[in-house]
Symmetry: C2
Subunit: 102 residues, 2 copies
DNA sequence: TTTGCATTGACTTAATTAAGTGGATAAAGA
DNA sequence: TCTTTATCCACTTAATTAAGTCAATGCAAA
């Protein structure tokens, strides 16, 4: 699950504030550049983010469609209309049948 | 010309002592890893070195055939049997018709 | 129960590709 | 003769791919 990892959730939160280049995301963490690159790959494969190539840079943005799908999943699983990453944390700590979601 | 650059000539000299991984070559210079990678690419395209992939490493070695061709070129240009990199330096400082060689 | 083994996932290191910069050189026109 | 313009070429930064480590998890056999 793309959002099962706390680092990836933090990336999604960051992108919620606005688009960022891969290097800007890396700078906000203490792990290596390849580690972030790999997380971004997972998020992209899950349809949660998009990339725009801008010269040497790769600009990452949240993908509204992917977030919609994610929100729908949260509604289904929890019965809430407004998902918070805090509650999601609880959910993910006790995974039942989350297969194939986002 | 692959051997026109002093960095590349130093790489060839180093490999004369024995095979080295790309990273070991990089460590012996003060330029970035991509810069060395690019030099190695030129040397490989010129047939002067070979690469062996060994797990995560790329082992670079002199290619005897390429060196033979180079030696033949030096003989032709200078009329000497034993080329020295020092004399080559002189030659390359005043290039006349070195096209297509090595 | 427990032991052993295969799988998964986040991470690192090694190396490269891609894109852009800056300096030197050469050719061409005023 | 200048000057300008174009082209190389070595280099850097940005980002990635590939390969391997390590710890946690799951699970089947003893």
């Amino acid at each position: 699950m793309a959002l099962a990892d706390p680092t990836r959730r933090r990336i999604v939160e960051m992108l919620g504030e606005g688009a960022l280049a891969a290097g800007e995301i890396t700078a906000r963490f203490e792990v290596s550049a390849p580690a972030i690159s790999q997380h971004l790959k997972v998020l992209k494969a899950a349809g949660l983010v998009t990339v725009e190539v801008s010269g040497q840079r790769r600009i990452y943005r949240l993908d509204p469609a992917g977030l919609d799908a994610f929100e729908a999943w949260v509604r289904q699983v929890r019965g809430f209309w407004h998902a918070s990453l805090g509650r999601l944390e609880q959910e993910l700590a006790n995974p039942e049948k989350d297969e194939g979601v986002v």
